[in-house]
């Protein structure tokens, strides 16, 4: 178990200075996510244009993995439509859970999350924001949970 693999500089930086942090007014959709295990809570706001994410913000309280994952996600999904977002999440999920998954170049900074797979208890922290984004895209406004 290597802590440096989990808490890479990119993760620590995005935890300390989360990007796209705050609320989005007006927004087209938002969703709340909750991880009862650690009390992580976050809300994702979206503004859509032509079926794609024009702007995105998130706000909430969480651990470094959850905060950094959400911050990195908001940077990665701008301009993408739902299909592209879900495809990206599929690759992230594989990266978080499969020992042999190799991050491809298109993941960019999101590849920093690969260290999480050594810490199974923390996978939920990294995936909460993606579930929440999925709910925002799908249902407009709803609460999702990782339990």
């Amino acid at each position: 178990m290597d802590l440096k693999e989990l808490y890479r500089d990119v993760i620590l930086d995005h935890n300390k200075r989360p990007r796209n942090f705050g609320t989005l007014v007006p927004s087209d959709a938002h969703a709340e996510g909750h991880n009862p295990l650690c009390g992580d809570q976050l809300t994702v706001w979206l503004r859509m244009k032509d079926g794609a994410i024009e702007d995105i913000r998130f706000e909430g309280k969480g651990c470094a993995i959850s905060t950094a994952s959400a911050s990195l996600m908001t940077e990665a999904v701008k301009g993408k439509d739902r299909t592209a977002v879900m495809a990206l999440y599929g690759r992230i999920h594989a990266l978080l859970t499969q020992q042999d998954a190799v991050p491809d170049a298109s993941l960019g900074k999101l590849a920093a999350l690969s260290g999480v797979r050594e810490f199974p208890a923390r996978v939920k922290c990294a995936s909460l924001c993606w579930h929440t984004l999925g709910a925002a895209l799908e249902r407009g406004a709803a609460t999702v949970t990782t339990e």
Partner: protein, 417 residues
């Protein structure tokens, strides 16, 4: 004479290193480091005498209890009822009829809420708890309030995590039927003045339940001295097995309460027209009980009695003080729960580092602590934090464990800058 003897021979220091050798699970390495187990408030580990008692029961005595005339059934019944007598002695109850075996504290409180509370409570009547209760001493009362129309009242705590006794006494009214309080807060370590609470509640005619889950491993409990009506605790916090716990109830109250669950063992006669119930305490023990659990719990009680509860408590208090002083030297640490009287629990946060991250970093160093809301979400809300990290101490923890905790926290500080 004994006083003279104890003056002449100073009590030897508590030998935690020797005690530790009784707990085989602590010998392992975790993530390449020697295990430092600081999560006894969640669950204590079991010493060899407990493991051996359970093994001996399983390999020599097991059969169903109160059933057969064959030798094993009698051996099992003797082991089970013998355990009940040892529990009675441990908490100084007047009679084994007052000792009900349950799965744990949670089940004990639910039993009282449903069997004592539900038939008696009426709209306008009140149940009084405190703001530092575990969910197990909140939710069963909320459920019974929904069923009966009674109202749940909550006495506040202050910024140190101490019960505001004046407010508690104000909230105690002629409408209060039940007072249910923890003796020690699992999230904060606060020791509550349960004797004073009990006396005040009785003066108002209320019945008192004490949640002793966190108190039982740290202090000698004498239910008659406390004067409480119900006392609930779990075996696994006292170095016994999981799935076994005790509800103590004053005989007069238990006798007047209807059974909680129906089934075998809790009846005297069954016909389709009318069933009559068994005597205390079996009236409340439907179904085959956790026999080996009771045997293990009694062995655990013998074990802590041999070590001396006062000696254990004194040792844990030294560790708590040492750890508290050490935490104060680490930048950004805030101790949550600074009551004057605390037992064995040290809850804290580190600025810039979420408790969940702290838990992971400490685990990588072999240090096991609890992180989260500790089943006390209202306490977290009161302190406006999502969670805390919590180190808790047991009879097997040493000063080296405290040093390992402090070193691991320094490492976390390093990682999170």
């Amino acid at each position: 004479m004994s006083a003279t003897a104890s003056l002449a021979a100073p009590r030897p220091a508590f030998d935690a290193a020797r005690v530790r050798r009784d707990f085989p699970i602590l010998e392992q390495r975790v993530n390449g480091r020697p295990l430092v187990y600081l999560d006894s408030a969640a669950s204590g580990q079991r010493p060899l005498p407990v493991l051996r008692a359970v093994e001996r029961y399983e390999t020599h005595c097991h059969a169903n209890v109160h059933r057969g005339v064959h030798a094993l059934s009698q051996a099992a019944t003797e082991a089970f009822e013998g355990a009940r007598e040892r529990v009675r002695r441990f908490i100084n109850a007047a009679s084994v009829r007052e000792i009900v075996f349950v799965r744990g504290t949670t089940e004990a409180i639910n039993l009282v809420a449903q069997s004592f509370g539900r038939p008696r409570l009426a709209p306008g009547e009140e149940i009084l708890i405190t703001a530092l209760e575990h969910h197990a001493n909140i939710v069963p009362w909320q459920m019974v309030c929904e069923q009966t129309g009674a109202t749940l009242k909550v006495a506040p705590i202050d910024r140190r995590g101490e019960l505001v006794l004046d407010r508690f006494l104000e909230l105690l009214s002629p409408r209060t039927r039940v007072v249910a309080v923890a003796q020690v807060s699992n999230a904060l370590g606060t020791v509550l003045p349960v004797k004073q609470i009990t006396d005040a509640a009785h003066a108002r005619g209320a019945v008192v339940l004490i949640d002793g889950a966190q108190a039982i491993p740290h202090s000698r409990i004498d239910v008659r001295e406390l004067g409480c009506d119900f006392y609930a605790f779990s075996g696994h916090k006292l170095y016994g097995p999981t799935g076994i716990g005790v509800l103590y109830g004053r005989e007069e109250l238990l006798a007047a309460m209807p059974p909680w669950q129906g089934g075998g063992d809790m009846i005297r006669t069954v016909s389709f027209e009318k069933t009559t119930y068994n005597d205390l305490p079996w009236k409340f023990e439907a179904g085959t009980p956790n026999i080996s659990g009771a045997v293990g719990l009694a062995a655990a009680m013998d074990y802590v009695k041999d070590l001396g509860l006062a000696a254990i408590a004194g040792h844990e208090q030294r560790l708590l003080e040492l750890a508290t002083a050490g935490l104060a030297r680490i930048a950004g640490i805030r101790i949550i729960g600074t009551a004057v009287r605390k037992a064995s629990v040290l809850s804290f946060t580190m600025e810039g580092c979420h408790p969940h991250d702290l838990g992971t970093i400490l685990d990588a160093e072999g240090v096991a602590i609890r992180t989260g809301h500790h089943c006390a979400m209202p306490v977290m809300t009161f302190f406006d934090i999502p969670a805390t990290a919590r180190a808790s101490f047991g009879c097997y923890n040493t000063e080296e464990d405290v040093e390992a905790l402090l070193a691991a926290l320094a490492k976390a500080r390093e990682v999170f800058g």
